[in-house]
């Protein structure tokens, strides 16, 4: 095997509409090595492993296994090549037993389609021993903890004889103790000759476990270095780069009168002790790496998730939010990230979609007054400059930008005091993005408070007045957006900030330890 790497990805290119997700990426993984893969949101990590796992096909480039070019046409082809990907959402069936899950799809048989239960149990035990999980192979997966499920998933990968194991954010939902054990297991697997590609948003874990680290930025490989030849600060600098922040979208300065106050909001497993204030006319940006709990915070304020603890005040009055209906009545609007799944009814027309959230205020004994509705909608369509053939057009035929404007129109016609956005411009072209920024700013100028959760750092830097950084379910840093230092935000996002800033709680736990 000398000289020929076990897995070689050469010049991989993948283009999505509007973006070059992977730009001639070279990636190598040897057997017996742990290769850490890091990068900002949208740097191309998940696209790369989707190409490797056969979920996506590259536009250009080739994949070589032991020097031989291969075409990874499907996940099952990847498995037969010895490449196994463990996704963040696990691939287990709760009501089957551990042994059944491990061998699902490649069961030991005795011929005639009869299961060999003894062999199944015995070898399940062997694989469980390898991953260090002490459970009965006959136990149902439902009864296991998340960590244990993850280990079952690893055992499943080993049972198909995986020689390259890709783990996407395996530690995201584990506690410090569990992470430590998992990292040790990853090292053990590498010592047994398995190649592991390890992706994590926790930099200290990557440094604790990897032999080599590859940094991706904007779809390109910035560097592949031995662990000892790179330190976390350098890595953060490499991930961030020196991109230009565009002109800020400014308006009237916020009044300083508190509008929405959130105190000690806690939802175990998602976020802890979250407190912040949004003033009248202010746009607050909330940033964090994927899966740090920031997406659940506006949902909880909107009453879509029920937090275990904490209070929400609007203009000093405490709100009791048990459902989105309560929040809407109190004057809170939420524009979710999954426009198509949650924000719109695609098969209804524009008029119906806009009217949906505020039907109550325009109905008389259950009948809608169409005349008042028509003028209201004409107003909004003009104000937001939605490009339409007619208000009776089906929403599915509109562009992404126009769809997003319809969602905004839907909420604006209720004249909300507080607007919560999650990824307001995801999948929208540049021109429409600018217009949406201006609309959000105008809404703030009229006195609304706005919260934007975004994975696009540029967006937050350009549009917001204040930035909150979330790491590991907690707000770890707060700063004004104007003149904010991107590197400082990145450092806080990756949990590298040791000292908490005033008014925020302790930063994430430090796992593993950097050696």
């Amino acid at each position: 095997m000398a000289g020929v790497p076990f897995l070689l990805m050469k010049g991989i290119q993948k283009r999505f509409p509007g973006v070059l997700a992977l730009d001639s990426v070279d990636f190598v993984c040897e057997q017996g090595e742990v290769h850490g893969l890091i990068g900002e949101n949208g740097a191309g990590k998940s696209t790369l492993i989707k190409v490797l796992g056969g979920v996506l096909q590259p536009d250009a480039g080739e994949i070589l296994v032991q020097g031989a070019p291969v075409k990874v046409a499907s996940p099952s082809r990847a498995a037969s090549l010895g490449i196994s990907v463990i996704h963040q959402e696990l691939n287990l069936i709760d009501d089957l037993t551990v042994a059944q899950n491990i061998f699902l799809g490649h069961e030991p048989r005795r011929g005639m389609g009869v299961l060999d239960l003894q062999a199944m149990c015995a070898s399940a035990r062997d694989y469980l021993r390898v991953v260090g999980l002490d459970v009965d192979p006959q136990a149902k997966v439902r009864a296991l903890s998340l960590e244990q499920k993850q280990l079952v998933e690893i055992a499943k990968a080993l049972s198909v004889d995986a020689r390259i194991l890709v783990m996407d954010e395996p530690t995201a939902a584990l506690n410090a103790e569990e992470v430590k054990r998992l990292l040790k297991l990853i090292r053990d697997l590498a010592d047994r000759g398995c190649g592991v590609v390890f992706i994590s948003h926790r930099l200290e874990e990557v440094f604790a476990v990897s032999h080599r680290i590859t940094v991706l930025r904007d779809g390109k490989v910035v560097a592949t270095r031995a662990r000892d030849a790179i330190d976390p600060e350098t890595a953060v600098r490499m991930m961030t780069g020196k991109g230009q922040v565009g002109a800020r979208v400014t308006g009237i300065a916020p009044s300083g009168r508190p509008l929405l106050e959130v105190r000690g909001l806690t939802l175990p497993g998602a976020f802890y002790d979250v407190s912040f204030t949004i003033n009248e006319g202010e746009i607050v940006g909330m940033v964090g790496l994927e899966g740090q709990g920031q997406r659940d915070i506006p949902r909880a304020v909107f009453g879509d998730l029920r937090p275990a603890r904490g209070e929400v005040y609007l203009r000093g009055t405490r709100l009791h939010l048990t459902s989105p209906r309560d929040a809407i009545r109190a004057g809170i609007a939420f524009v979710p990230e999954e426009r198509k799944a949650e924000g719109l009814c695609l098969s209804l027309d524009v008029r119906q979609n806009i009217a949906l959230a505020t039907l109550d205020s325009r109905q008389v004994a259950g009948f809608v007054r169409l005349s008042s509705e028509a003028s209201l909608i004409r107003n909004l369509v003009e104000r937001l400059r939605i490009q339409l053939a007619s208000p009776f057009q089906e929403v599915r035929n509109l562009s992404g930008g126009n769809q997003q404007k319809v969602v905004m129109a839907k909420w604006l016609c209720g004249r909300p005091a507080v607007l919560l956005f999650s990824e307001p411009t995801r999948g929208i072209d540049v021109g429409a993005k600018e217009e949406i920024y201006r609309l959000i700013r105008r809404q703030a100028d009229e006195g609304s408070g706005v919260l934007i959760v975004s994975s696009d750092l540029m967006e937050v830097l350009r549009l917001c007045d204040r930035i909150l950084v979330v790491h590991d379910g907690r707000i770890v840093k707060e700063m004004p957006a104007e003149g904010a230092d991107r590197e400082a935000i990145m450092t806080a996002q990756w949990g590298l900030e040791a000292a908490p800033t005033q008014g925020s709680s302790t930063p994430g736990l430090c796992h593993g330890g950097i050696t």
Partner: protein
């Protein structure tokens, strides 16, 4: 999102050694139906001398056979995450074909039996294929195919009639050790189904597809093939139920199968099989089918109208579904 938070918090409190979740009779989802059936039979036997007469009991057992067979098949469909409402149509058409085509010699009888089974298998394959390929709800697809079969059966035989040969009718009355053969066969098929569902690759795949279709697919299971097999089994059991009914009635009836689509589903759900989780077993199904028949028998003795029995069966289905939903809710709460 909530579920993620939920599992995480559970993960944080538990250690690495798992609670051993071996099979335990108290966790058996079929337990309620066993208890209810036992109570009903004991009470009815205590109060009614007619009910406890051996002849009546044997009669009830034979009456269970048609619903029992249909429900065994339905269990496969429900475990695979679907439901096959087409079994009623298959039963009707089978009785009509039997009463029309069977001659008085062994060869034609065997040929017609084979024809009916093949027809059932073909309908199952069509149902499974449509349900998984069109990505439509199996309930809607099989509701439609059921209507097609019912229409064909009514066209062939607008009014109940026809004849099956006497020799074929006699088969139902043969006994083994004083137990009627159909009952023996029903029990044998139950044991066989239990084996298939728990000891074979097909059984495991059916449960996996019913439990989480996407995860099963990503584990390399052919979801389409698995669903097709589940529906084939369901409709072939339907055909067997129809063949039995034809022998029992001695004639064909294009409406004979009508109640079975819903009744078989009731038996499966009341028997503890859960929609969309891949859990449940045929023993519970068979017991529930028996209970439905016993209650019908008791109602007849009490002189309750047949129409009221429809009301009762509907209520039973609602209770069974609600019970399943509550059980799941309690499971979720217990995990917290």
């Amino acid at each position: 999102m909530t579920t993620r938070g939920l599992t995480t918090s559970a993960g944080r409190t538990e250690g690495r050694a798992a609670p051993v979740a071996r099979f335990h009779w108290r966790r058996d989802p079929s337990l309620p139906i066993y208890i209810i059936t036992l109570v009903v039979v004991v009470v009815a036997s205590a109060y009614s001398p007619t009910f406890r007469r051996p002849y009546n009991l044997s009669n009830v057992a034979v009456q269970t056979v048609a619903l029992g067979l249909a429900s065994l098949g339905q269990t496969f469909a429900v475990l695979a995450g679907d439901v096959d409402l087409c079994v009623g149509g298959v039963i009707s058409l089978t009785t009509v074909i039997s009463a029309t085509l069977m001659g008085d010699d062994v060869l034609t009888i065997l040929c017609v039996v084979a024809l009916c089974l093949v027809l059932g298998a073909a309908m199952g394959a069509i149902n499974g294929l449509l349900a998984s390929r069109l990505r439509m709800d199996a309930m809607v697809i099989t509701f439609a195919t059921n209507s097609v079969l019912m229409g064909v059966a009514l066209h062939l035989m607008p009014a109940p009639g026809g004849m099956v040969p006497y020799s074929y009718m006699r088969l139902v009355d043969v006994t083994v050790l004083q137990i009627p053969t159909p009952v023996v066969l029903l029990v044998a098929f139950t044991v066989l189904s239990n084996y298939v569902l728990n000891r074979t690759v097909l059984g495991l795949h059916i449960r996996a597809v019913g439990g989480d279709r996407a995860a099963a697919f990503r584990s390399g299971i052919n979801v389409t093939t698995t669903k097709i097999w589940a529906h084939i089994v369901a409709c072939m059991f339907g055909a067997m139920a129809g063949l039995f009914l034809a022998a029992r009635m001695g004639s064909g009836d294009a409406l004979a199968g009508t109640p079975f689509s819903l009744d078989s589903m009731t038996a499966v759900i009341a028997g503890g099989t859960n929609f969309a989780s891949g859990t449940g077993d045929v023993a519970g199904t068979l017991t529930a089918a028996f209970l439905i028949t016993v209650l019908g028998n008791i109602f007849n003795h009490l002189g309750v109208s047949t129409y009221f029995q429809y009301v009762f069966k509907g209520v039973l289905l609602v209770i069974a579904v609600a019970g399943g939903a509550m059980r799941r809710k309690m499971q979720v709460r217990a995990r917290r």
